[in-house]
């Protein structure tokens, strides 16, 4: 792993909605290095989730470029392959399929990998064990707690061993204890697997756990730097 190599390069990205009446991103620019843990924070509506979704190739920018591992997403022919193998995505609402078991949910991205049924099942079991849910593999999400669901969602995001993990307010719907557990899990995955972790959160305490914090406002990156303690950030926010 080369910690100086830029894996995500967002260049002057603009994204609008409703016939350009709403500017979600207004020339956002950001670079993220390999193996880095970056938190994107900012007030509601600042464009942080939109930016994450564009990096995840769930949507396309109006202008600007997003280059991941040296490849411009706009030039990429198979975005499905990118989504299944290059990035793992964790949503605020876990977005698990309620009719499937935890294991079946984790296996979903693996259908696009050349894995047999048995390999898929075994790998899902390993991932669920890694997030502490090995014994709940056959349980449907409806019978899991909020924190457990989010851990299943993290296991699903890791299904095809992507080098980049994108988490959109992963603790937003959880109580503080479950939220801390999920955050610890993401951090340990980032450290152990060496993945690049990009986490979007409006919660400064959550963001404070990152190696670098990027602050957004009105669709632009306005500030970034090495994460200070949460207390220091709160003080800064208070002064503003």
């Amino acid at each position: 792993m080369n910690r100086n190599r830029i894996v995500i390069d967002v260049q002057d990205v603009v994204k609008t909605y409703e016939e350009r009446r709403i500017h979600a991103l207004n020339g956002a620019t950001l670079q993220i290095r390999e193996g880095e843990f970056v938190a994107i924070t900012g007030p509601s509506g600042c464009g942080k989730s939109t930016l994450l979704h564009l990096i995840a190739a769930l949507d396309r920018p109006d202008s600007g470029r997003i280059i991941v591992n040296g490849v411009d997403l706009a030039q990429m022919r198979d975005l499905s392959l990118y989504r299944s193998h290059q990035v793992g995505l964790v949503f605020q609402l876990h977005n698990l399929l309620p009719t499937l078991s935890a294991s079946a949910n984790v296996q979903l991205p693996m259908y696009e990998a050349e894995l047999s049924f048995w390999e898929r099942r075994a790998k899902a079991q390993r991932l669920l064990e890694a997030v502490g849910l090995g014994r709940r593999a056959n349980t449907p999400p409806t019978k899991l707690s909020g924190g457990e669901r989010q851990r299943v969602a993290i296991a699903r995001a890791l299904a095809n061993d992507p080098p980049i993990l994108l988490a959109d307010e992963p603790t937003g719907n959880l109580d503080s204890k479950a939220g801390q557990m999920v955050l610890d899990l993401l951090r340990s995955i980032q450290e152990e697997r060496g993945v690049t972790l990009v986490l979007v959160s409006h919660d400064l305490q959550i963001a404070a756990g990152a190696q670098r914090i990027v602050r957004m406002l009105d669709g632009q990156v306005v500030d970034e730097g090495v994460a200070p303690s949460a207390t220091a950030w709160e003080a800064v926010e208070g002064e503003r």
């Binding site: 949507d59 989504r83 299944s84 995505l89 949503f91």
Partner: protein, 371 residues
């Protein structure tokens, strides 16, 4: 979880809707398969008619709309009998009229002398006597239905006939009917000197192609009948049934397709968010397409299986009517069931095309945000 199980599970989510849709499809398939079975049975019966009495081929009046309207004369019978390759020609008059509870009792008028050449295996009694104008031979099925045995009397066309023998040929239309002296039938049918068909037994080693071609060349008013396609020259009933079968198959595909489309559109709309998630975790459009089409095909195959079973039950049930039993024996050929499956798959593809395309064209992020 195997991909197939994922498809099956999706169908089982809405069990009632799946079952009702499958049942709706099955009704169309039932019609297609049952009609196919009945048409196939009529074709088998037609084939038997052409080879009755162990003959090599039959001859009728060319261009008849219906076999019973075919008319051949005694002169034509004699002319056919005079051909070098012909061992024996038997003239038969056919008629259908009520006998007892059977409104479609098939009667064959045959010269008693010809019974020596016309293979009619007796199971009881004797053949018609040359001087017995009021004698009748009954097929085994007819005798059973009428509860008649040798020595009993039956009333036909206002006349009393004595049952002198009971035969069994194995052909359902013959065994469900009876044989009478040709002269008697010509009299009560008011067709003096006329017959319906000539059955020809060729000499051993005779070239049947050359013989039939020669007869048709010499007598363009006659049609030689060896195959089912020849049968169409004297009876268009089978062609009409084939046409009706095809039309109903198309109708079943269309109506079934609308039903399946309704179900699949509802299913895809309800699961818009789910498709967004699947696309977000990297599913290719092709895989989403496979899933939606797979669900539709599986739904229709369930319908096809139920429909085929219902068709078999239905075609067995109609045999409780003696009138049907006397001229129809269901033929369950693989082709009929394959046609049912093909119709089922066609319904599935027609019905799932639009919803599948809709599911594939969804933007992942818009689908995830869909409420």
């Amino acid at each position: 979880m195997p991909f197939f199980m994922l498809i099956l599970r999706n169908l089982l989510r809405q069990r009632v809707r799946t079952l009702l849709t499958a049942f709706g499809i099955s009704l169309g398939i039932t019609t297609v398969v049952a009609l196919g079975v009945v048409t196939g049975s009529f074709k088998a019966t037609a084939q038997q008619v052409l080879r009755a009495g162990g003959s090599d081929f039959a001859i009728g009046q060319a261009g008849s709309a219906d076999l019973t309207y075919s008319t051949v004369t005694e002169e034509q019978l004699q002319a056919v009998a005079d051909y070098e390759g012909v061992e024996h020609a038997t003239g038969v008059l056919m008629a259908v009229s009520r006998l007892g509870s059977n409104p479609y009792f098939i009667q064959l008028g045959i010269d008693p002398k010809d019974l020596a050449y016309f293979q009619v295996p007796l199971v009881d009694g004797r053949y018609l006597a040359p001087d017995g104008p009021n004698e009748i031979l009954l097929g085994q099925e007819a005798a059973s239905q009428l509860d008649k045995k040798v020595g009993d009397a039956v009333e036909l066309k206002g006349r009393i006939f004595q049952v002198v023998g009971i035969y069994r040929t194995g052909d359902v239309w013959e065994d469900g009917g009876g044989m009478l002296p040709l002269a008697t039938m010509q009299e009560y049918e008011r067709k003096p000197g006329l017959m319906t068909l000539i059955y020809v037994k060729a000499k051993r080693g005779a070239d049947l192609d050359a013989l039939t071609a020669q007869i048709e060349e010499d007598h363009p008013e006659l049609a030689t009948l060896r195959t089912l396609s020849d049968y169409g020259d004297v009876d268009q009933g089978l062609q009409l049934m084939d046409a009706a079968n095809l039309a109903i198959s198309f109708l079943a595909v269309f109506i079934g397709g609308i039903g399946v489309m309704n179900t699949m559109v509802m299913s895809v709309m309800e699961r818009t968010r789910e498709f967004g998630i699947l696309r977000a975790v990297g599913w290719r459009p092709r895989r989403v397409l496979q899933m939606v089409l797979g669900e539709s095909i599986l739904l229709c195959l369930i319908g096809a299986v139920i429909g085929s079973i219902l068709a078999v039950i239905f075609t067995r049930l109609i045999l409780i009517f003696p009138v049907v039993r006397s001229f129809l024996e269901p033929e369950y050929t693989p082709e009929v069931f394959i046609r049912g499956l093909v119709v089922g798959v066609a319904v599935a593809l027609l019905g799932a095309l639009y919803p599948a395309v809709r599911a594939v064209r969804l933007s992942p992020i818009q689908a995830i945000r869909y409420e």
